[in-house]
């Protein structure tokens, strides 16, 4: 009889654990929403006639695509910050590097249709009177090579930087400052014409991607769909990592780093791989961003961008993955609205937002929603738990809680 109870209890717990692992309600809703967008947007843009009230103008498609790129970037930051506790203030650098890799491919696709009509060199190189293509531009006329570089370049930078930083156990605010310095250094470097990335103006005037005209509605919708697909796949990949044992080790590192070391884990290796993977995701986000907005310039390396990114994640709620995506969408929508309606107010609103989130909503929007809906279900949970336990055991548990 007692044995039976124990196994029943065990089964109940097992199913609970399974449910905990599988239950990602927020994420499921979010993915359903994204997939719905992937159907609604093409239909409303391409199939509905322009005169209809349901017609979605192309600029909105582009705007939504941009938001989703930012959402992917926020997801990448949440993985390192929310789960591993590495507050990177330079994640926009990886985003921009991915963007530059894509920009270089698009630049090479221009061919002899540039202002100067040079079949070999991009316009800015002709302008600078360069005679030949620099070696690091080789290969970027191939789409597959450019796509490879989109993940390899940010990944490699993150790997080298992380290897140096984590091995010497640089943590906390010192690491944040170093990442900030990293993105600032890249900003200054990319501003220089001698670097061969278009200097101040960056790369722009793109014509087409894989042979499709970038100005056409169909191409823009396709880019939007590609962004949705990448975001959903990245979300699932992050979710897989977070649910695996690796995810639990990483959370443990966030909460008690030295304790994890004494359990026999090489903390710096875990940090390094999470950081590198996150940088790769950021690179993909940048590569999707550039063809949609049509330009990449050194301004994307600006430290301010990275800080704004942190605000998105903090507002949405870190350590939940979907919270970061919601945060990015909400803040960017607010930014579009405010900069249109009251342009002078936006920066104050952003600053105020950060203060409010830090003081009142430490767990962000998600935390707020959970708190509201949790009040009811928590009561129910406690009740059912008392019933599930034999009387003596619950008494013991009570005593234990008191001591």
């Amino acid at each position: 009889m007692a044995n039976n109870k124990v196994t029943d209890q065990k089964k109940a717990y097992q199913s609970k654990v399974m449910m905990l692992l599988k239950s990602d309600k927020g994420g499921s809703i979010l993915i359903a929403f994204l997939l719905a967008l992937a159907v609604v947007v093409p239909v409303c843009n391409l199939m509905v006639p322009e005169s209809s009230a349901l017609y979605m103008p192309t600029y909105i498609v582009v705007l939504l695509g941009k938001y989703l790129c930012f959402a992917l970037l926020a997801l990448a930051l949440d993985l390192v910050w929310g789960y591993c506790g590495i507050l990177s203030l330079g994640h926009a650098a990886f985003f921009a590097l991915g963007g530059y890799a894509m920009g270089m491919y698009l630049m090479r696709q221009v061919g002899d249709r540039g202002v100067y009509g040079n079949p070999e060199l991009p316009d800015f190189m002709v302008f600078l009177d360069w005679q030949a293509l620099p070696w690091y531009w080789f290969g970027f006329d191939q789409f597959w090579f450019a796509m490879l570089m989109v993940v390899v370049v940010p990944g490699l930078l993150a790997y080298v930087f992380g290897w140096l930083a984590f091995r010497s156990r640089v943590t906390g605010v010192y690491l944040s400052i170093m990442t900030q310095a990293l993105t600032y250094a890249l900003l200054l470097a990319f501003f220089r014409n001698e670097m061969g990335f278009g200097g101040n103006n960056g790369l722009t005037d793109f014509k087409d991607i894989l042979g499709f005209n970038l100005q056409e509605d169909l191409t823009r919708v396709m880019l939007f769909l590609a962004t949705v697909v990448c975001l959903v796949l990245s979300y699932l990949a992050c979710r897989y990592i977070v649910r695996s044992k690796m995810g639990r080790v990483v959370v443990a590192v966030r909460d008690a780093e030295s304790r994890v070391r004494f359990l026999g884990y090489r903390v710096e290796h875990y940090k390094l791989w999470i950081f590198t993977f996150s940088a790769m995701l950021a690179g993909i986000a940048g590569a999707l961003y550039v063809p949609q907005v049509g330009i990449i310039n050194p301004g994307e390396f600006s430290p301010l961008n990275s800080i704004e990114l942190v605000v998105w994640v903090a507002l949405g709620g870190r350590g939940t993955l979907y919270g970061a995506i919601i945060g990015a969408l909400v803040v960017n929508y607010a930014k579009t609205y405010f900069t249109g309606a009251f342009p002078e107010v936006w920066l104050f609103a952003l600053g105020g937002l950060f203060v409010v989130v830090t003081l009142l909503l430490p767990k962000g929007i998600i935390g707020l929603i959970e708190k509201q809906s949790g009040r009811f279900s928590k009561k129910r949970k406690i009740k059912s738990k008392d019933e599930a336990l034999p009387a003596s055991e619950s008494k013991q548990a009570l005593q234990r809680n008191q001591t």
Partner: protein, 279 residues
């Protein structure tokens, strides 16, 4: 002359080099306790900004022994643990685990994987993870990055975790996060994590702080049952607790050993009474 000696040393016929020894996959391959002691601390000194936390400390722990270490505040008990687990590097002296493993040259994870587990003075469990997950992370499985991505517990392994949960009395709190536990429960959870690690040597820093008398008795029982298969080193302030478990006690004072022996001998030692018990 020196070279000649060195050559003779290398050519000695009774010497067996590490690489010649066949590895036993069951036991920790390099741990050799054939001479008795499992842990050797010899002339270990550590100083922080001129303050000598350890001063030529020499200490041997036998395989399977349960040893209590006592001493007034600042005697160097925690520093000694830090040296053994690789957190602090000694300025001089040698620290060996078995005959061959030089702990001063190993990193914290390497030392942990070689078979030394540690419970901290302040209980540190992973607050965001459930009791079950806390134990899962401590379990002696592959701890490299890539295997951890696909690792799943099989039935036998999760049964083992449940057994330990039963042993430490937290089975009913299996899925609860560590932050909800009381101080005493955290202590127990951390002891459970040590058990999951299955180390050859357990270093336990103040295990009964914040426990009730009943819990203390249970802890004493658990620790004494562990001795034999494992070697256990307990640092504790609570003299009553030490008296209840100790067979051999070492008293530290100002970074070196003041006295060693069974509880009665130590308690009657004049020097010990002066610095510690007499207070």
């Amino acid at each position: 002359m020196k070279t000649l000696q060195r050559i003779q040393e290398v050519m000695r016929r009774d010497r067996v080099f590490d690489f010649v020894v066949a590895k036993d996959p069951l036991a920790s391959p390099l741990l050799d306790t054939s001479h008795g002691p499992i842990l050797y601390l010899e002339d270990v000194s550590v100083s922080f900004d001129g303050f000598k936390a350890l001063n030529k400390l020499t200490l041997y722990i036998d395989d399977g022994e349960l040893r209590c270490i006592i001493g007034p505040n600042g005697a160097g008990k925690t520093t000694m643990m830090d040296v053994i687990t690789g957190k602090t590097r000694p300025d001089e002296g040698s620290v060996y685990f078995g005959q061959r493993l030089n702990l001063t040259r190993m990193s914290e994870p390497e030392i942990a994987q070689a078979g030394i587990g540690r419970k901290f003075q302040k209980p540190t469990v992973f607050e965001a993870l459930s009791c079950f997950e806390n134990l899962e992370l401590a379990m002696d499985l592959d701890k490299r990055v890539w295997p951890s991505l696909t690792q799943r517990l099989n039935g036998e392994q999760s049964d083992r975790i449940d057994e330990v949960l039963q042993k430490i009395g937290l089975l009913s709190l299996r899925g609860d996060p560590g932050e909800r536990l009381s101080h005493g429960q955290k202590q127990w959870l951390e002891i459970g994590m040590l058990l999951m690690q299955n180390p050859r040597l357990l270093l336990v820093d103040e295990p009964v702080a914040g426990m009730t008398h009943q819990e203390m008795d249970q802890t004493a029982e658990l620790l004494t049952s562990l001795a034999g298969q494992h070697s256990v080193v307990v640092v504790e302030h609570d003299m009553e607790f030490v008296r209840s478990i100790a067979r051999k006690v070492t008293v530290l004072h100002e970074g070196s050993v003041l006295a060693e022996g069974d509880m009665d001998t130590v308690a009657n030692d004049q020097k010990v009474i002066e610095v510690y018990l007499g207070e």
